[in-house]
């Protein structure tokens, strides 16, 4: 292992070591003091974030013979993943305690999952992509079932595991086909093999298609979304919040990396497929969300729909000039989605009580009246998910619509626009209930939870008014891909 290898995976290594030690340290903490585990886990994430940021200025050659890189793209996403981890801990701590599922292994599992996500963004070899995928998924399977012996939670864990394993199978098979077509699993090598004509294109296309299916499961794109509502509903809400933001972002990280770097030659074949996936996801996710009365299910379908918008980033896949911008748009929207999604799940956590009470949309009646700040924050998240000013969601959506228009897919942009109106209908229902109906909602006051919700809400507004640093960063991040 050379020094380059080491510095490429330094943040990941540290976080892995930290998580392992945390698992040990937790054994010595008494049952009623698991708050320390949460704090230590957060410290580990913060430390890793610090190292990631400190490294961001330096240039590194790819490590491990080109299997893992550390570039602008991975830095952008790793910071996002670490942020997701920190927010995940903030919303979990009080909730797990209150729901009686506070067990020490929770936080190390979360850290391992974050490690998987980070590797996903850094992987430039399909084998590493697969390893990262499994590393991020396994802790999530366990965490989804964390509220055992509650049947819904166990069901969620099992369902997620079975379908996740199934989708991993697709990915592996796709990787095998890609290897068969080109003789390598290295993304750069695949790209070269395609351009020299050494690759068998039909085989590679089939392989890419299977990989797409596998990641389609992870990001919950239609028609691979079936598991989402049940898992999101059954899993403890703190896990759902982490999963909805983290797993999705990681899935998109891999999609952007793999399809941006290795398969541009297949763009002509795959771009229409991506566009159709995006359109189906937006339409189905939004339409079904309208019919939901349970907050967790509604947000689950909303997260499916949001994946559809992010998929628009692939629309100009075959258009050299527009591609960079589109992928940057995807990253940008990923940030907007992460904030709004985390925020809204945080509010759900604040209202949820034991035995699944407080989860109906009608339980939000009067929230804005009784808790104006919490209501205002939730309104901000809903507006951001619709895509209205002054929130980050609007800027992100504009970015993605632009990608579709530049890719020449006017119909896709129109589908996106029309489904946004549908989405306004169900997001507004929450706002209506919070501010325009009377009710006596019950809210758990937890400092960290409220801090996370507040910070995310303020970020959503401030960054939308001052978006160019984020624009710039996203643009820089994707430069390395092409």
């Amino acid at each position: 292992m050379t020094q380059t290898d080491f510095s490429t995976i330094l943040p990941v290594t540290i976080l892995t070591a930290w998580a392992s030690l945390l698992l040990l340290a937790d054994l010595f903490l008494p049952r009623e003091q698991k708050g320390w585990t949460a704090l230590l886990a957060a410290l580990g994430l913060a430390l890793t974030m610090g190292i990631t940021l400190a490294q961001s200025g330096q240039e590194f050659a790819p490590g491990f013979g080109g299997m893992i890189v550390r570039d602008g793209f991975s830095t952008f996403l790793n910071v996002l993943f670490l942020l997701i981890g920190l927010l995940g801990i903030a919303v979990s701590h009080g909730y797990n305690h209150r729901m009686g599922i506070e067990r020490g292994e929770y936080y190390p599992l979360m850290l391992f999952s974050v490690v998987g996500m980070m590797l996903m963004a850094q992987a430039t070899d399909l084998i590493v992509v697969f390893l990262a995928l499994e590393l991020l998924s396994f802790p999530l399977y366990v965490m989804a079932a964390f509220a055992y012996p509650k049947p819904q939670s166990e069901e969620a864990g099992l369902k997620y595991f079975l379908l996740g394993a199934f989708s991993s199978g697709f990915v592996v098979y796709g990787i095998a086909l890609a290897f068969g077509a080109t003789g390598s699993t290295d993304l750069a090598y695949i790209l070269a093999a395609v351009s020299t004509g050494a690759a068998s294109l039909p085989l590679l296309t089939a392989g890419a298609g299977l990989i797409l299916v596998g990641f389609g499961f992870k990001v919950a794109a239609v028609p691979f979304h079936m598991w989402t509502p049940d898992v999101y509903q059954g899993a403890p809400t703190s896990v759902t919040a982490f999963m909805a933001a983290g797993a999705k972002a990681a899935g998109f990280a891999a999609l952007l990396r793999v399809f941006g770097m290795a398969f541009p030659a297949l763009a002509a074949d795959l771009a229409p497929l991506m566009a159709i996936l995006a359109a189906l996801t937006m339409i189905l996710g939004n339409l079904v969300a309208v019919a939901q009365t349970d907050m967790k299910r509604m947000l689950a379908y909303s997260s499916i729909a949001q994946a559809g918008y992010i998929l628009m980033a692939f629309a100009p896949f075959d258009n050299e000039a527009a591609r960079t911008m589109a992928v940057a748009g995807g990253l940008f929207y990923l940030v907007a989605y992460t904030l709004a999604s985390f925020g809204s799940w945080g509010v759900v956590i604040a209202l949820e009580r034991a035995e699944d009470k407080g989860l109906q949309i009608t339980d939000y009646n009067g929230l804005g009246r009784k808790y104006p700040l919490l209501g205002a924050a939730m309104a901000v998240f809903m507006l951001s998910l619709i895509g209205l000013p002054p929130t980050l969601g609007l800027i992100g959506k504009i970015y993605l619509f632009r990608a579709a228009l530049e890719g020449g897919l006017v119909w896709l942009a129109i589908v996106g626009a029309l489904t946004s109106i549908v989405s306004a209908f169900y997001y507004l229902r929450v706002v209506v209930n919070m501010f325009m109906r009377e009710g006596q909602p019950q809210v758990e006051r937890e400092w960290w939870l409220e801090f996370a919700i507040g910070a995310v809400a303020i970020g959503t507004i401030i960054v939308s008014l001052w978006p160019f640093p984020l624009f710039d960063w996203a643009q820089q991040a994707v430069m390395v891909l092409f």
Partner: protein, 513 residues
């Protein structure tokens, strides 16, 4: 932070200072909350007067954009979005209308809004920021942000302080308007991608959009604006929103928000897509005339006074659209003046309806009757405002409608934009609309104020207007008479800009015939 010190930035964002103060007040301090909002909006009005008339920075004889504030906002690879504010003769009256109507609307809530006063005032001031922003933004992106932003406070104003059916009305208002504007967003992005800039003057100067593309873009923009105006047959959100909104909300909705639609046509559709505008003019003209007649006919059959006034808006804004798409100086000038007139007259009508509703809690026409004897001041003022709304010579409505009709007849002549599309019929039927307006307004007046005393009149101890209510109406009355008797200063403000606006159309019309 230089961009905040520009005169138009100060006008636009000064209500935010009031918002800040409101945040520090307690919900129980109702008087302080009201006074803060009122004073803030008055200060905003004074600043807008200062910026246009006393600062020496704005020259009314100049037809171009003035008081320009132009700064880079989002300027990274592939995006050129500016913080670009400016005003000209097309927008100055509407900006002033906004800053003028807001304090009046706030004054009207003094006793009408007792619940959640703090939130109400917050939303109201935020709404004012959005409205002024719409009229001053010269960058499409910035414009879109202000445009969509106005939805949010209005949605809350209707949804929280509205009538019994307020939730339905609020959501309908929101979804209708958003449906239109999101199509406009796509057109804006198309323009930005192809033109390399979102700045409207630059895009107009480039002016190289092929005619068939223009038509699509025109339609996308028109979708947003036509719903907002609202033009027949996209008006169905309006009666619901108006009837359910609190009085102050209705005043602002009718007075300013609808004008955002007509202003949008004027500022964006006409200069950006001139060929498409000429092509679409007959269609829009006919839709406008249908709106005039339909609105008037439906008004006549309303039993609910507020609904009657709401439908009359459909009719009045039909006039505005007809005049604007006559594409000649009289038509456009009449249209702009009529926007202001409608804001004054319909705003005043909504205020009057709100004042009586506050006492009786009903707006049912048949239960009134014989009011004039009991409340003579209220009756007289309603009569004046009603006459102004129906276009009696000597009051403001007449000037606007007459100029628009002149324009429409002119456009029906040779080389006019309505020539060959039944131009004279357009103008003739619109003139019938004036007569219909007289019928429904006088019918309403008769039912409410004349004849034998109705149930409400008999059983309620009705009080006439108090000093605050009169003070609320007085400024509107001043302008109703001023514009009716001496409209020249108002026309002078807009004429140079209108000439600039219409310059390209002469050539297009010449070529077309």
């Amino acid at each position: 932070m230089n961009f905040l010190l520009e005169p138009l930035s100060i006008v636009t964002f000064s209500p935010l200072l009031g918002v800040l103060v409101l945040l520090f007040l307690k919900s129980e301090q109702k008087a302080a909350l009201r006074w803060t909002a009122l004073v803030t909006s008055l200060i905003t009005f004074l600043i807008s007067l200062w910026a246009f008339f006393f600062s020496g920075l704005y020259n009314p004889a100049n037809g171009g954009l003035q008081l320009v504030a132009k700064y880079n906002w989002i300027n990274v690879a592939g995006w050129d979005i500016r913080y670009y504010l400016a005003a000209d003769g097309l927008s100055i009256l509407l900006i002033l209308l906004t800053t003028f109507l807001t304090p009046i609307a706030i004054l009207s809530t003094w006793t009408a809004v007792e619940e959640r006063v703090k939130d109400f005032m917050l939303f109201f001031l935020l709404l004012e920021v959005g409205m002024i922003g719409v009229f001053v933004a010269q960058d499409l992106f910035l414009f879109y942000i202000f445009w969509e932003f106005t939805l949010i406070p209005m949605y809350f104003l209707i949804g929280i302080w509205g009538g019994p059916n307020r939730l339905y009305a609020a959501v309908k208002f929101f979804l209708y308007t958003m449906a239109g504007s999101i199509l406009m967003l796509l057109a804006i992005l198309w323009l930005g991608i192809n033109g390399g800039t979102f700045s409207v003057p630059d895009l107009v100067a480039q002016g190289n959009i092929p005619a068939d593309t223009q038509l699509w873009l025109f339609i996308a923009f028109a979708a947003a604006f036509a719903i907002k105006v609202p033009m027949w047959p996209l008006h169905s959100w309006l009666p619901d929103a108006h009837v359910e909104a609190p009085t102050a909300g209705s005043v602002i909705l009718a007075g300013v928000l609808l004008k955002m639609g007509t202003y949008g046509f004027l500022r964006f559709n006409l200069p950006l897509f001139p060929e498409a505008s000429v092509q679409a003019a007959p269609v829009i003209g006919w839709l406008a005339v249908i709106g005039i007649l339909y609105g008037a006919a439906v008004s006549f059959y309303q039993k609910d006074v507020k609904k009657l006034v709401a439908y009359s808006s459909v009719s009045h804004l039909g006039f505005v659209m007809l005049g604007m798409f006559a594409l000649n100086a009289q038509g456009v000038a009449g249209a702009i003046l009529q926007m202001v007139n409608h804001g004054l007259s319909t705003g005043a009508l909504f205020l009057l309806v709100g004042m009586i509703y506050e006492q009786t809690h009903t707006r049912d026409l048949p239960v009134y009757g014989g009011l004039w004897k009991i409340t003579p001041i209220f009756g007289t003022l309603t009569l004046i405002v009603g006459l102004s709304s129906m276009g009696l010579p000597g009051l403001n409505g007449f000037v606007g409608e007459f100029t628009i009709l002149l324009g429409a007849f002119g456009a029906g002549m040779k080389d006019g934009v309505f020539a060959g599309a039944g131009g004279f019929w357009l103008a003739g039927l619109a003139a019938v609309g004036v007569i219909l307006a007289a019928i429904y307004i006088l019918y309403m007046f008769q039912k409410m104020f004349l004849g034998p005393a109705g149930e409400i009149t008999k059983h309620h101890d009705l009080k006439d207007l108090n000093w605050r209510e009169i003070l609320t109406l007085l400024p509107l009355l001043v302008f109703i008479f001023w514009i009716g008797l001496y409209p020249k200063p108002f026309f002078d403000l807009m004429m140079p800009a209108i000439e600039n606006l219409l310059m390209p159309f002469q050539a297009i019309l010449m070529a077309a015939h």
